[in-house]
Subunit: 257 residues, 2 copies
DNA sequence: CCATCTTTGTGCACGCGTTCACAAAGACAT
DNA sequence: ATGTCTTTGTGAACGCGTGCACAAAGATGG
């Protein structure tokens, strides 16, 4: 998963396992599709197939919600949509700020999936004065000087960081100080936050690297196992050869490095 | 984690646990930063702090690589960078195609992190004829009619899907048929692929929903524990959690997908 | 050469998550 | 009512991942 939690001792949140929480949105999406097709009930088997999971797992997940299925019939689609929505807190309004309106920030601002689930883009914030006032996705960009005020005025508790890596921690600190307690981080950095603050990260580069690893394995099964040897001597002399193309530690880019 | 694997029975890839593979890019990033500062060696403790993980975990991770640290000293930064890069397959060139050049696709195309790690954007593909030829991030967009040819001509094995949900599965099928064996999916859909094809997904909406869940819990600790109402038959112990606000108990709770 | 000190590499135990497999529950037909 | 058939809910076993804690390895100094 492109995502990874930061910290958090795998604490069960009120009896609901983290792994289950992470799947609820998946179920919700599948259920919503069924709902739109006016399907009244669905079996664990069908729903599991739609969500791409094991049916036993799905049943156990629902059992944590104290779910109500009917044996011999299945689950009531509408009811389940409502229950999961409520459990996830989607029945309320979540004002969100996006900090860093570059390519990615703009893409996020335009992303329809936000609004459709109770998430409302309350403000777009960027450090570039030239951006101030410029509308993106119909919302005028505000300067980061006003970050604290914006957070407080809008009662924002969820912040999205889409800045370059170098700015992320500073932005994060300011968000937290202003009252934000949940952060979705797109910058390729490890963020340090106080207890009580949740951070989730989305890291494109990491995802690609994981794919590359598996891809290499697949390819390597037939062909080359020739390079292999890691000559012990390699250490020093190789330094420039092995050398990575420097650029990436301080990525100027807007996305995860 | 913004990411989630699809399928895959938690298979160990050549003895290296999945969880470890997922952390290697993190270590690599931290190491690259050290390398740029010309730090010669680093202890597991220091590196673990930089990567935001437990030091014992880090040492165990490296031990799977047959890693070479020096007791009493630590790890040689350059050597480790080289080893991890090689293990992840980053020493070779990975041509990548991005399908769906909307806001997100464009952001991805502009993402600098691609090039810096051996990933090369070989082509941008979109279904809109109006986009064809138009350059994005310096690369001309090509029409999806030519998808198969593009994949084959460039020897692409990794594809990025940034299309609307509705188009994702069809695009996925075509990519796979054309020879792509690793897919990074940004579309909010569960993709079905044949065995041997890896799919990783990045799902914004899911990440936000998970944050909302925890946010709700944090907020709910002070406030509402007042639900009380015990309407309709309560199946299990905790079931009260699911039953509440009588008035809209069976309301469709319209929630767009 | 020996002693001491640092840091790695790992054996071990524990807990979460997954999956199987089945009994209990209810729908439905007779 | 009673029996049959479907599908849920869950007990139990297993495997992966995590973190502690320590012995082994090597550097360093006398």
């Amino acid at each position: 998963m492109a995502t990874g939690r930061t910290h958090r001792p795998a604490t069960r949140s009120r009896g609901i396992p983290e792994a289950t929480v992470a799947r609820l949105p998946l179920y919700l999406r599948a259920l919503t599709a069924l709902s739109e097709r006016s399907v009244p009930t669905v079996s664990s088997e069908e729903l599991a197939a739609a969500a791409g999971v094991n049916s036993a797992k799905l049943r156990k997940d629902f059992s944590y919600l104290g779910s109500y299925g009917t044996r011999g019939v299945g689950y009531d689609v509408e009811y389940l949509v409502y229950q999961i929505s409520r459990e996830l807190g989607l029945t309320q309004d979540w004002p969100v700020v996006i900090v860093g309106i570059g390519n990615l920030g703009a893409a996020l601002a335009n992303y329809g999936g936000f609004a459709s689930r109770g998430f409302r883009v309350a403000a777009l914030i960027d450090a570039d004065p030239a951006m101030a006032g410029k509308p993106v996705a119909g919302i005028p960009v505000q300067h980061s000087d006003d970050l604290e005020k914006i957070i407080q005025d809008n009662g924002v508790s969820i912040g999205v960081i889409a800045t370059p890596a170098g700015a992320a921690q500073a932005v994060c600190d300011r968000l937290v100080a202003a009252g934000v307690t949940s952060i979705l981080n797109f910058a390729p950095t490890v963020l340090t936050v106080p207890d009580g603050v949740d951070v989730r990260k989305v890291d494109l580069s990491i995802e690609l690297q994981i794919l590359a690893f598996h891809e290499q394995r697949k390819a390597g099964e037939d062909a080359a196992h020739s390079d292999g040897t890691g000559p012990a001597a390699v250490t020093r002399e190789e330094s420039d050869a092995s050398a990575d193309q420097g650029p990436d530690g301080d990525v100027p880019a807007v996305m995860p490095a």
